[in-house]
Symmetry: C2
């Protein structure tokens, strides 16, 4: 281990030198060297490679697990209640009065979902969440639907959490208004992606403090708020916060939409059940205790914040979050106000990080099952699933950029996917309990059935009430993703079948008849590079043809004389090209060779390529070789070899 | 020839089928196939390839030559006088009165320049213009300065002529205001580039009619205008057109600037002297007669238009050219007004075409002298210098796009380059006459000296008076271009030297000691593609190593067992990669081989590459092979061969 640390130190020193080199080379030199140095630059930012033996599973005590897994769920109070109020605070309509009902319904639903998810932990202690449950119990299609909605969730969690975190920051510092997207992207790429590329362990430690600081802040704020409310002169809940219009269809739609929005407060509850293997033994019971504690805290904070919003009769405002208004009402713009804003921002940014712990492992499971490109399953130099991390960053960044960092628009996309995967997991568990028939299986089935029913209804409510404002995107997205998953699986299956070695027709590594190798060298005139190519050709075959395309008969005669004078030992074939085409005659010539050769023979085309010394010299040479290579590679039994010639000047 | 025509017919039919295929493939299939079909699509637009024997030099009679070569010069009246007025018509200053002086000075200068250029035709009957004159008489540096300014001129001619042509169109049809740049680019790419890619002969016939129609229109308009002026009630030249302020330094600057602008009316005069070889015999005397006729016409039209502008006291207006105002004043918005506008537009677009006849041959001369990339000198399928044509189109399009089709801004860039190359050509001729000492050489030198002096002064005037408004760009551009020309020449010279075959140390085509070929095949597991690669390897060497990078020891053991079971006849080398890197261990392994091998040996790395059946399948395979190839190509004596494996599904 000491050796590794030393290595690390050395690599930092080395990287700093390389950073300078990178800058110089980007101006000065070759594209290829830039690629090489890019690798070294990434070393500087990401850190030294980690040895396989360093991959260990840290086991988390409950207090640490609570903070790591709950940042996503608990941070949702940063936008959940606000999303309810946005729907209900329509001017001219007395809808605000239903705020309390909606918040209560959300808290109730939270209880049911928690209860059901406790079962997931029991049934599926290996982690993996909805996709794992579904693939083992329900089959491919539901599993892929779950995978698609999980993918959408994880990406949306990142986008929504980061945008909300930035909103919290902007509320406290209005001078930053207008720079939201920039801040979002810096946090996303510069902080989250880098931390996660550096690897799991370092990132997880970052979680512990901010989550507790935020919970503490919320508890203090709620206590202070209730204290003020009870001692205050006015009514604890003012009349305008409970005034309601008659409940009719239009109002029902409004309330359902508010509820659908409010369900976003519940996102992230599933995190613990997906992470059971990371708990200290006894993992299952520890994880259940943690889940219950988390939901309890979340429910309490939700209810408390909801109550205080009604007490102060807060309205949604542009550029100032309701949590910010609340803190300002209770504490004024005091230091504690800034404490609330900063911890809110931190916990939201950290909530985004939950996806980085969730999606890349999910993608690696999908990659093992061949539903996504295989390289999404590789661990990078730092043992993290680097390709998955980059994919997540790119997708979330794209979303933030398209929606201009506007949380409200993103949230309508959000909840439907979350609840769809909730429902699938619950249904999967019902099947599981029925198969298992372990103790209390009927009771357990019943709990999951209740969960499935409730979350299924929520899916329908959200789908219906928010269809036009964006939920349709998810409805379109999921089938497309499922289709893509299946196509990818199909390709890999096809490929495996095509690549499978069969010994039936003899050993495929040993030719039935020994093949010959016919070497073709297209030349423009006898030069050093041609000489080098001929030398190489002589080591791989004794059947070599130099090929000259003659666009001008006199020039052709000159080249032929020169070639013969060189005594190359290689015959020169000349083909006339009266239309001044160069590539077509070569293709025709090789086509003729192909028809004449025996099936076991190969044709090797040697294409000399100049490796120029300065990057711009590259533009002084035509790309005939490249085009020829591209076209020849389409043919069977024609092998293209590039012979690099390094120009020194 | 009949055979060729039949071929043409067949190729059109074929191309139409291909157009459909192209659309389908762009959606459906492989990037490579798109390249292939792109070639066929271009056949449809550009026409069948032309045989070498079809390259003939059409000889032009005077009446045809006049119209072909003079469109550039004569069309300049479309913007020249206007550019003078723009400077002089400053509100609040009585500068307009100097309009007549400036126009007269321009006409006088035109006379001198024509006289000098007649000498160019005599001294340089092979064509080629300023660059040829300078390289033969003055040396490399002046020649390159001339080449750079000619390059700038040709590109600017295209940009300015097209923008002005579109201005003429917009004046007649104000509904098109705002679409200038779009129209410019459509004319540039869709008409000029295509016509010229189709080839010289077809394009040159397009010239004849519009030029004469324009000249006719101008003569009618000037006659009608003078007739109206003489019969009119008011003064022939109203007082406000000749009212002048006192002539001081500020006014001098203004007048010089107006003169500098006015010199743009003279661009294109050199065209005839560059095209002497295209005239019917006696070419020189025919070309001189044509040049004098052209200058006479241009001078007359300039003077006439200038007079009428003063008579009507016209002022420059946004979106309406002065020629359009003039025609409207004389004829009203009658059919003849539209005749003037349309022929103006046509001749201006055709003037742009002059550059297409001028720049690509100049580039091909420069390419022969190795000052520009060699492929700029190749004749394309249609015998035109297609690369040069595309370069010209791209440069002019970029200019139009950057300057938003605004002629005024472009003109300040224009004249300085034109007059710089005028001056260089004249100086070159003085040297030529002194060397030649033919009859009248003193007289001839004197004429060219006068020309050089005058045009040299004009360069200084323009450079000084328009420096800030854009001429500095040319002043910066020319040295940069000269530097680039020299660097390119240097690279080609270096390359020729490096590629030069020397027989001193024995025949370079025959190895001193016969080299061996060590073949390395990086594998992931024994599959069909590996089997195919091994079969190929066995045809090129009997020294083959399969290389497996083991990121996981158990997996490595499994692969090793599988490999041995296959009885491949090829030893498997396993290198452990505990940091999960794949490329680095392969590079290290090959590095070790490189150090161990003898200098005459080669190392061939065979990289299997999947040729996927659908384009998107490509994204399902990682690009390790590509990166490996890129990095290995940097090494000496390491040859990289791609073994394509065509997936059928």
């Amino acid at each position: 281990m000491e050796y590794l640390a030393k290595l690390h130190k050395k690599s930092i020193l080395h990287s700093t030198q390389c950073l300078v080199r990178f800058g110089l080379q980007a101006i000065h030199s070759n594209f290829r060297e830039v690629i090489v140095t890019f690798g070294i630059l990434s070393r500087l930012l990401i850190g030294r490679p980690l040895h396989n033996i360093e991959l260990g599973h840290e086991k988390l005590p409950k207090w640490k697990a609570l903070s790591i897994f709950s940042s996503d769920a608990i941070s949702s109070v940063g936008y959940g209640p606000e999303q309810v109020a946005i729907v209900l605070a329509v001017p001219g309509i007395l809808a605000y009065g239903y705020f309390s009902d909606v918040i209560l319904a959300v808290v109730l639903l939270l209880g049911i979902v928690t209860l059901s998810y406790v079962q997931v932990a029991k049934a599926n202690p290996g982690g993996g969440g909805s996709y794992s449950v579904a693939i083992h119990n329900l089959g491919e299609l539901p599993a892929l639907v779950a995978a698609a909605s999980l993918f959408a969730d994880y990406v949306l969690t990142v986008a929504v959490s980061i945008s909300s975190g930035t909103d919290a920051l902007i509320s406290a510092f209005p001078g930053l208004v207008g720079k939201e997207v920039t801040i979002d992207l810096i946090v996303l790429v510069g902080v989250l992606m880098l931390i996660n590329l550096r690897g799991v362990r370092e990132s997880s430690n970052v979680f512990v403090l901010p989550t507790y600081l935020f919970i503490l802040g919320m508890l203090v704020m709620i206590s202070a708020g209730i204290y003020q409310a009870l001692l205050g002169a006015g009514p604890v809940i003012p009349h305008e916060s409970v005034a309601r219009q008659q409940f009719d269809m239009a109002m029902l739609v409004l309330v359902l939409r508010a509820f659908a929005n409010g369900c976003s407060s519940m996102t992230g509850v599933e995190a613990i059940s997906n992470g059971v293997p990371m708990f200290e033994e006894p993992a299952v019971s520890n994880s259940i205790k943690t889940a219950v504690l988390m939901s309890g805290l979340l429910g309490f904070i939700l209810a408390g914040v909801g109550f205080l919003i009604m007490h102060y009769h807060l309205m949604p405002m542009e550029n100032v979050t309701m949590l910010s208004q609340l803190a300002e009402n209770i504490f004024g713009r005091d230091w504690f106000y800034y404490y609330i804003q900063i911890t809110t921002m931190l916990i939201l940014y950290l909530a985004a990080n939950t996806s980085y712990n969730g999606l890349p492992p999910l993608l690696s499971i999908l990659a093992k099952d061949k539903y996504v490109p295989r390289y999404l399953g590789y661990r990078g130099e730092r043992l993290s699933f680097s390709n998955g991390i980059v994919l997540l960053t790119f997708s979330a960044g794209l979303l933030i950029w398209i929606f201009n960092g506007n949380v409200e628009h993103l949230i309508s996309l959000y909840a439907i996917g979350v609840f769809l995967s909730f429902t699938i997991a619950q249904v999967g568990l019902i099947v599981y309990w029925r198969k298992e028939k372990s103790a209390n299986w009927k009771m357990r089935s019943a709990i999951n059935a209740l969960g499935a029913l409730t979350t299924g209804i929520v899916v329908l409510v959200i789908g219906e009430s928010k269809f036009e404002s964006g939920a349709w995107i998810i409805v379109v997205f999921i089938p497309i993703m499922v289709y893509i998953f299946k196509k990818i699986r199909r390709h890999y299956d096809d490929m495996a079948e095509q690549l499978h070695l069969s010994m039936d027709k003899g050993n495929p590594f040993v030719p039935a008849k020994p093949g010959r190798n016919i070497v073709v060298i297209p030349i423009a005139s006898p030069t050093k590079v041609v000489a080098q190519t001929v030398l190489y050709a002589k080591t791989i075959s004794d059947n070599i043809i130099a090929l000259y395309v003659a666009t001008d008969p006199e020039e052709a005669e000159r080249i032929r004389t020169k070639w013969n004078a060189c005594d190359t030992g290689v015959p020169l074939a000349t083909v006339a090209s009266n239309y001044r085409l160069v590539i077509q005659p070569i293709l025709t010539f090789i086509g003729k060779l192909e028809r004449e050769k025996r099936p076991e023979d190969f044709i090797t085309v040697l294409i000399p390529e100049f490796e120029t010394n300065k990057w711009w010299h590259r533009f002084l040479h035509n790309q005939t070789g490249l085009i020829l290579r591209t076209l020849l590679i389409l043919r069977d039994n024609v092998i293209v070899t590039t012979i690099p010639y390094h120009l020194k000047k």
